[in-house]
Structures are given as C-alpha cells and as structure tokens.
Symmetry: C2
Amino acid sequence: MNVEIITIGDELLLGQVVDTNSAWMGAELAKEGFRVRGITSIGDEAADIKEAIGRLLGKADIILVTGGLGPTKDDITLQTLCEFFETKMVFSERIYKDIEAFLAGRPGAMNELNRMQAMVPKKATVISNSVGTAPITWFERDGKILVSMPGVPVEMKTVMSNEIIPRLKKYFKVPSIQHRHIIVGGYSESALAIKLEEWESNLPDFIKLAYLPQIGLMRLRLTASMNDQHELSRVLDAQVEKVKPILGDAILALDDITPEVVVGNLLLQRKMTMATAESCTGGNIAHLITSVSGSSEYYKGSVVAYANDIKHNILGVSESDLNTYGAVSQQVVEQMARGVQSRFNTDVAVATSGVAGPTGGTPEKPVGMVWIAVAVRDKVVSECFQFGKLRDRNITRATIEALVLLKKEIEK
Amino acid sequence: MNVEIITIGDELLLGQVVDTNSAWMGAELAKEGFRVRGITSIGDEAADIKEAIGRLLGKADIILVTGGLGPTKDDITLQTLCEFFETKMVFSERIYKDIEAFLAGRPGAMNELNRMQAMVPKKATVISNSVGTAPITWFERDGKILVSMPGVPVEMKTVMSNEIIPRLKKYFKVPSIQHRHIIVGGYSESALAIKLEEWESNLPDFIKLAYLPQIGLMRLRLTASMNDQHELSRVLDAQVEKVKPILGDAILALDDITPEVVVGNLLLQRKMTMATAESCTGGNIAHLITSVSGSSEYYKGSVVAYANDIKHNILGVSESDLNTYGAVSQQVVEQMARGVQSRFNTDVAVATSGVAGPTGGTPEKPVGMVWIAVAVRDKVVSECFQFGKLRDRNITRATIEALVLLKKEIEK
C-alpha cells in the first residue's frame, strides 16, 4: 500500500517550523506494512493543494494531509478539500458537542472561531479529535483514501495511533505485522553489520532487518508478517534468541525504548536510587533521566560540576589530584562518581569529565576525549572514550555511553 | 525568485531521519528574498527523481536537491542528474585533489569508493566541498538553476552559506536585503500582536514583519530591501528604536540569538559567575547554558535537586519550610537560589521548582505550576508561572522563563 504525505503551511516553507510529523508518520506506517512513497510540503494556497492532491491520488492508495485546519482565515485546507471532492460544508451537531466538551472550563471558551470548526465537508466521514478542536476528515474515492488531520504533533499522533492506522489496516485488509527490536550500544553501523553478517545472511527471506542508527546507539528492527500470529511470534523470538549470544552485553534492550527508560526501569525493579556528577555533559544526563515521568522514584539529583572548585568543594575531589592529573582524568572522574554517591546517599552514580570542544583540547587531551565513571554500591569502574569534534554530538554521545555503562554495571 | 527543494533518501520516508535541512534552507533563503514554494521528499529511485525534477523545473527558477550523494551504490542522485541533463560522468582532477586533502591523515583514507566521488557530471559546474567528500554540482538550463548537494546537515549548511546563496544572489541579481531581529519574552503571539498593533500598522509597506514563535519566546523579524544600503539601515534602525519603549524589558535581545547566549554574553561583559539549582527543570537549564562553547568562563555548575533531602542537605533549604510550604513554593525556591549561590560562590543563581507533570498535580499545585527564583548578588526575586499539561513543554518553558527572568534582574 503506497502512501503519500502532504503537509500544508507557509511556516514549513519559511523554515519557522521543522516538519517532524512526516518522519513520525513514515516510521509508524512502515511498522504496519504501509510504504510512504513521498512527502510534499506546500503553502496555504488552494491551487497548490488541489494540484498536489490531484497528482498524488493518481499514484498512491492513501494520501495523508496535515495542517491548515486552524480556526483563522489563512487555514483553507477543509474548504479546498470540499472544492476538490465537489461537496459542501455542513454543520455537525456531534462535532460541535465534541468541541464544546473539549473547551469546557477554559477561559473565553466557545467563541465564533471555534464554532466554525464544527462545519465539516458533507461527503467526508468525520473522526472525533480527542485532544484538540480541529476536525479530522476521511474521504474515499475509487477505493483510495484521503485523510485530513491537524498539524499539531500531539493531535496528529493521537489520531493516527488511535483512529487512522487501525481504520487503514481494516480498509485495506493489511495482514498483521510483528516486530522485534534490539537496541545495541557501542557499535558503529558498519561494525555491527560485520558482527551480524552470518546471522543476518541466515535470516529467512520473509523477515526483514532494518538498521536504525541514532547518535551513540543502533536500533535493530526485525519485521515480518504471516497469517499464523503464534507461529510468527515463535519464529521472531527464535531469531532474537540467536542474536543474543552474538551481541552479549552490548544489547541495551529488547524493546524499542530509550537508554534513560532502560536505566529507569532497572532502578525501579531493583529499588535502587541514582545520582549524577556531570562536567562535560553539563546536566544533559540529568535532563534525559528527568524527562521520564516518574523518575523522581529513583533519581535524587545531580551536581553539574563545571568549575574545578565545585568538583573539590561540593563533590570532594582531591585538590592535589585535580592539579596532578587534571579534571579530565580517571582519578578525578572516579572521585566525582564516589563523591556524589556518598553526598546524595544513592545506590548508584555516574560521572563524566571530558573536552566537549570545539576549544580546550591539548595534544594529550584532545577535543572529544571523555572519561566516564560508574559507581554501583561500593564498586567503581571507569572508561575513556574518544569522540569527534562537534560539541553537541560529543555531549550526546557521552550521555548515551554513560547510561549504557551504568546499565551494564547494575546488571553485573 | 521561486525555489523548490527536493530531498532524496529512503531514510526520510521510513522516518529514520527527520528532514531538518529544508526548514533551515527555507529560513536562510527567505532572509535573502528567495521564496520556497514547495518541499518534496522522495526515495533513492531514478524514476521518482527525474519525475520530480522535470515537473518542478517547469514552475520554479531554482531547484535545490539534497541527499543521495554518498559513495555507496544506493546513492544515485548524480547518475540520475547526468541522465536528466543528458551528460556523462567525467573524472575531475581538481575534485580528486580536494577529496585527497580532506581525507589526509585519516585511517584507511583514500579508498576506491572515495576515488569514485571525483567522477562528476561533465555539463555541471563543480563546487568544492570544504567539509566532506561528496561533490556539489550546479546545473544551468534556460536561465534556471539546479544545485545538488549533500544531505549531511553540516555539509549542506556550509556550502549553502558560503557558496550557493552568494552565487544565486549574483546570478539572479537579487537586491540586498537587510533584517532586524527583536527577541521578546513573556508574550503569546496574539498578545504581542495586540501590543504592537499601532506600530505595526504604521510600518512602511516595504518593511515586512514576521512573527516567529518558539516555545516561551517570540522572534520578530523586520525585512526590507532598497538600493541605498545606508538609508535602508537607517530606516530599519529607526523602527527598532520606535518599538523599544513599547516592549520595554520584555525585549530579550536585538539580535537573532538564544536566551542562553544572551545570558552568557551579559555575564561575560559584567564578569559575573552563575550557578543553578534545578528541581522540575531537571538539569535542562545547565544543559542549555553549557551547550554554548566557552560557557565555563561564567558558569560554575548546578545542583539538580530532584529529591527533597538534596534540597535540604546540599542546598540548605529549611526542612521545616519544605514540610510547611512544600517543595513547590516561594520559600523553597528562593532558598534553593540562595543556597546554590552561596555554596558555589557565584554572583548570580537561578532556581526552579514545579510540577512538570503529567502526574503529581494537586488542586492547590496543579500540573504546570512552576516557581522560579533569581538571586543577583544579595537580592532575590521569585515568580510563579502556570504552564500547561505537557511535561516536555513545561520543562522547556520553565527553562526559558528562568533565563528571561535572570537577564532582567542582572540588568536592573
């Protein structure tokens, strides 16, 4: 089933907004066996919208349209769809009630502009929007589907997951697909491909393997479809079992979750608490850990020790070691981990110290060199990494490696 | 001048990569008076690439193509362009030398695949890539331009800024454009539009005003072109002078810079040092501040005090105040700011404490309530904000508001 995505809005062309919706939709659709063939971004102009829809209906089975549904007059998507499908706007009592319920209790609730959002194309099936006021409309023509939905990411994602994808699977009788995810740390894409060469070449043809790289991580996804779901489950699980001994403790998770969630789950299971002492990562580990709702159950906090006197005064790092070995050293990073663990009274701690760049490098300690230490109860281990030249990327990589190292040590 | 952007790569359609390039290009081109009319993302398929180029050359003056230039065999953009423009690939001695120089000193440097990248279309002007090995090619046909460049953001940005935009301006004799930026905190888009109504309606027609919203901030941009650059400069500056008294200290900067850079510059100028004590922002303020290269000049560090005992033990917040008023309170947030300021021995400090959500809200302290305190030397001020329901957004808004409040207090 071929899908074309159309995103509408002048703000996309002016670069005021990055279109993150299309990538999300592409990834979710691929998981269900739909294939996005193209993404087209255009402005709020009726002629451009009609041209794109007309052309793409000729080659795709499904067109997903986002944006241009706001209550103001520059939002013309619905009116344009009416013209394209030769229908008219009618008032929907049901949608009016939905909007009223959604806005209940908000200051200046139901105004004329919101009331107008209950006007919907007569020929379309209107799907309720549970998290906003813009209507979602579903058009059918000659066995093809066009869906118009809001461009606000949270609204688009909610309706795609709960309504659109299930309806598309039913309409096109798409066979059920299953996936298995393997999240792997410490490998580049090419190194991982070499490591997995034999396993990969022995995969049955109907199982597809995708490498999904992220900074500091590789996500592997096995995908297959079969009528017998139990058998499919068995076959996929068997492949995962085969890959486990090959990758060993480089496997971070057998689920599509982030390292901060992996670490959080592990700490929750073992009823352990955590603290961080960050120099070069500058609070990014704390930020990732606390981006997870419920992290206050296991995370007590961090000392971002950017200045050396903070490493000494707050974390208790030896002044003479700071002078002898420098801040970016095994001695200092291990004392940072130990220091925050004892001062914050936690079971585990992570510390980072490195040269994020672009300045501050020396021949012995070049830009991208990062020491990471992990303390679990009374054991402390540390590792030195050499990343690249880009500051942002170095901060992200050090953050991910710190979480990967912590996960390994907790499980030991 | 109308521009169409084509981004090529299966990874875009599968959602493995978010296309951030197009928004960046759209924003940079808009600043120079070029108008992006559409963005088309397609896979690595010759037929799709030729169809898109053929169709878009019919309606645009300029086509900018990114991606599909890697050394592996699924990268087919250049070969496809050769077929489209009816030319052939030839070996370029100059590009070969460029690639050799770029790879010099790298392990496993010049291999067969890199050597192949010196093969370029005969009809095209080849522009050197100073930060990578993929060639940049410039085609002309009937007064229209097509440029092919790498999809790697750092390579695309470098060549767009240094080569492509200057060449396009020259080729199309685009008049010079000037901009003025005004970064404003504390206003929604509609509230700001009301505040600026009179000033905006009195702007000369040839000056365009754009509202560029970001979470917690509004960027205003004035744009105009004129033959006399001195006069243009004078006219735009006069408009900025007029808006200053209307917005007062809501103006965060008169330059297109981020709040963390604004605060950093201010601290550098005044030779002041800074620390943060973060509860609900969980290290995100530290992360933003330290994402700026050179921040170690003024930033000493942070205590992320997620647990109450850290607020008490490390920051010295009164236990009885924690019990009486709760962690999310004026008393506690002010003591956090004071505590980190004195323990880290800095001139200024910022503290946050709030309910990021989605859980943890109560009727008195609902999700989205955040207290922010700023200490500058011996003065401390605090403010209570009520944000929304989304955790990520609340963390970002609290972070921005904290930096805005700090900037105001430093300047007082």
